[in-house]
């Protein structure tokens, strides 16, 4: 009964979404504000409706209603309540409900904004948001229904159906299978919501872009309205990616954080276009240029968001056959194709209205650097997209299955990332409109000399790997330029106002949060790059089977096997927990406990590494195997991951920088007018 209620509410919300589309379109063409207003109310109604449906599902999960196929698959009696709550996004059907719920929340939030000056956008924002919402609710209602129950027919077969088939009786399993153990991790609890928040919030700038195309109001208004939405979307997506990496590092037990797996890349691709968009919209705001390109970027981001949701949830990349057999595969394919063709068609229709208001005049101007930035981001996107779909193409045309693995991506993207980091350093020094190498040189020469000195020190310390030397030089140069730039601005302000250093920096950042938030993000990226370079180029590993009291050695560390205990836990796990001591130069540094948990319900093992983590390096130990009797010997795999903590530290700084950039101004219109006036008066950022 409760399941039917949840399903029924979902069906009503689907009807509401369709109504919102119809009413908005009718209202637009009939120029009837009442109809548009009605569509707006329908959009607002979708949020409480889907909330009720999602809460119903959570209630069913929390109360062990194993007669539901979805509840059976993702929970079990032994799971703690907080884990049961998060099981909502632990399976495909529930995660689609969750996606729809977030979508409705964002769409409702947009409906509640002040629309005074932009009412003509409203019907089309409603149409885009509602169509997207209707698609996802439709998937749940027709294909992936989490409310479907088990029924036993006369011949004893158990089937899954929403409504009672004739002659069948309800079938209630005693206990569920439980959530996949790999997903029982704090990172995995927060990672999907963050990623989905990022995905969903990118729908908002897209819907405004489409609204501007349909209505013909093709100035930069839509970009100004959605600037903060876009940054929030980008922040969530970035956090989702970082949390996913952290989860992989902590849980998957292969000593790394990014394996260039198609599912990872699927979430990374909208980030690439989104990041290009975040930069490139500034050209349109400041110079009225590249309107076609920005619109195309947000269309691509939207398509990749849908594509990403699809790939991260369905596993269709394994084979073309899996795609054909998947119920939702073709539906996604058609939706992505239809929305892309419709959006691109609109863009072509409005092509002549989107002409640039200025010309690109200098190769050293800010807009030129932003274009280069876009070229590099799009090139990384091409590598990723091509690498992900090529195995399908190969299988389709030759029948041969191939793997496109990490070496391909690393080789292709490393120079592009290096170029991006270098650009990150020099682009903020250039001015809008025009700069010369002389103005850049003036702002760069001091940090450049400092970077050369730092490089010489690194060489003297014994680093000889050419890739590392190039990488670290670019990183250090960018870091120094950015820090120098901030320091110069703080000093100039201090001199002009007589404020002390702290007050001066606080007010400087407060007056131009977007720019200094951006700088903080750039510094965070540099820190993350140090971590990625460290683990990417200098990771070492060893594996060996040792008896108690014996040791393994790696990069100066001694790892001594002390003890091993195997025991059962109350939540149906069998745990093998080793005790190892890490020492260096005879000094004991830490006692670690690498584990292997075996989950009885799901019959799945999980590896929990023992990690000693410092700012210099991580020592990451995995218990690979052990002799159960007398624990005479155990096999350990040890990874030495230099500098990896810089990645996580950088990601924390990234969140801070993004928050600085998105923090609301008192009066955005006033602030942006001031900023434009400042640019007009003070042309070179470098001077």
């Amino acid at each position: 009964m409760i399941a039917q209620f949840g399903y029924g509410v979902l069906v009503i919300s689907l009807a509401t979404a369709f109504y919102a589309v119809g009413a908005a379109v009718y209202g637009y063409f009939k120029k009837s504000q009442r109809w548009v207003e009605s569509a707006r109310y329908a959009m607002l109604l979708s949020f409480p409706l889907i909330t009720i449906s999602a809460l119903t599902l959570i209630y069913l999960i929390a109360n062990n209603h194993f007669e539901l196929d979805f509840v059976f698959a993702v929970t079990s009696r032994s799971m703690p309540t907080y884990l049961k709550m998060t099981a909502l996004w632990g399976g495909q059907a529930g995660s689609l409900v969750f996606w729809s719920w977030l979508m409705s929340a964002f769409a409702s939030a947009v409906m509640l904004r002040k629309w005074d000056r932009d009412r003509e956008f409203m019907p089309w924002v409603i149409v885009v948001a509602s169509v997207t919402l209707a698609f996802f609710i439709g998937l749940v209602v027709f294909y992936e229904n989490p409310f479907a129950r088990y029924w036993q027919t006369f011949d004893g077969t158990v089937i899954t159906a929403m409504f009672q088939p004739s002659g069948a009786v309800p079938f209630i399993p005693a206990d569920g299978r439980g959530l996949n153990p790999l997903l029982r991790h704090p990172g995995m609890i927060i990672h999907p919501p963050m990623l989905y928040l990022g995905f969903v919030s990118f729908v908002i700038p897209f819907s405004f872009a489409i609204a501007s195309l349909v209505t013909g109001r093709t100035d930069d208004r839509w970009i100004r309205i959605t600037r903060r939405w876009t940054l929030v979307a980008w922040l969530f997506l970035s956090m989702g990616l970082v949390l996913g990496s952290r989860w992989a590092y902590d849980v998957l037990g292969w000593g790394g954080f990014w394996g260039w797996d198609p599912v990872e890349i699927a979430a990374f691709m909208p980030w690439l276009t989104g990041t290009a968009f975040v930069h490139s919209v500034m050209i349109q705001e400041k110079r009225g240029m590249f309107k076609h390109w920005n619109t195309l970027l947000i269309i691509l981001t939207y398509s990749l968001v849908i594509f990403g949701t699809f790939l991260t949830r369905s596993g269709v990349l394994s084979s073309v056959h899996a795609f054909a057999q998947s119920a939702i595969g073709p539906a996604f394919f058609i939706f992505i194709g239809a929305t892309f063709i419709a959006s691109a068609g609109l863009l072509i229709y409005r092509w002549n209205d989107l002409k640039s208001e200025s010309e690109l005049k200098s190769v050293f101007s800010r807009e030129a650097f932003f274009l280069l930035n876009n070229l590099f981001f799009m090139s990384i996107l091409v590598v990723c997209f091509w690498g992900v779909i090529f195995p399908l193409i190969s299988e389709l045309f030759t029948g041969q299955k191939v793997t496109v693995g990490p070496p391909f991506y690393q080789r292709a993207t490393a120079p592009l990332f290096a170029a991006l980091i270098f650009l990150m350093g020099i682009a903020p020094l250039s001015a809008w409109g025009h700069s010369t190498w002389k103005t850049l040189g003036r702002a760069m020469w001091k940090p450049a000399i400092a970077a050369v000195v730092a490089e010489v020190i690194i060489l003297a310390l014994g680093l000889r790997n050419p890739y590392a030397l190039i990488g670290f030089f670019i990183i250090i140069l960018t870091l120094f330029i950015t820090l120098y730039e901030i320091w110069r601005a703080i000093r100039a302000r201090g001199k002009a106002t007589g404020e002390n250093f702290l007050l001066s920096s606080w007010r400087l950042v407060g007056r131009n949060r977007r720019r200094y938030g951006g700088y903080i993000i750039h510094i965070s990226m540099v820190l993350m790059a140090i971590g990625i370079l460290g683990i990417g180029l200098f990771q070492t590993e060893t594996q060996g089977t040792i008896a108690q009291g014996e040791s393994l050695k790696l990069d100066g560390y001694t790892i001594t096997y002390k003890d091993l205990a195997v025991f059962d836990t109350a939540d149906a796990r069998n745990v093998a927990r080793a005790v190892v001591v890490v020492s260096k130069g005879g000094k004991v540094l830490a006692e670690l406990h690498p584990r292997r948990d075996f989950f009885y319900e799901s019959q799945q093992p999980m590896t929990i590494p023992g990690v000693r983590s410092t700012i210099e390096d991580d020592l990451y130990i995995i218990l690979v195997d052990w002799q159960p009797i007398l624990s005479s010997g155990a096999t350990f795999k040890v990874y030495h991951n230099p500098l990896v903590n810089w990645l996580w530290t950088g990601s924390l700084l990234f969140i801070f920088g993004a928050l600085v950039a998105v923090w609301p101004d008192k009066d955005p219109e006033y602030e942006s007018a001031r900023e434009r006036a400042r640019i007009a008066q003070q042309p070179a950022a470098a001077d």
Partner: protein, 170 residues
Amino acid sequence: MTMKRLIWITPIILVFAALWVGIAFAQDPTPSDDDVNRIAKQLFCPVCENTPLDVCPTQACAQWRALIRDKLAAGWTDEQIKQYFVDQYGARVLSEPPRTGLNWLVYIVPPVLFVLGVIILARTFHSPKESKGGDSPNLTPAPVAGTPAQPASESDDYVARLEEELKKRN
């Protein structure tokens, strides 16, 4: 020792040394886990999705790693072992598609598109309307030595357009 004898003896010593080294390595009875992982790292699990063989936790993969150990003990080279896996399970066990036939596309398409992007970008810079020299005074940081001054009419036109736009936005 005369020079002549040295010339004779040196190659003989070298040949024996090489043989001894070869035998010593070939007879190594148990290759270490690190030797096995060195090869397993370059291979992907033939049945799982996108899992490198060295970290794959399944029983099947443990057996494949044991197979690598056996082959190493039997004196096979890294390349021979990799080729054995390709022959048995297909090209999907390699971390990259082999550079043959249609697979070349995977390596060619991204650079071609990158070059295309560079060409498009270069065309944007060298559009016929481009004027040499500075932009309008409002946006120019410093006069560039040696560049001709911009015609006043174009500059005025731009300033007027900019002001109009600023007015519109405020």
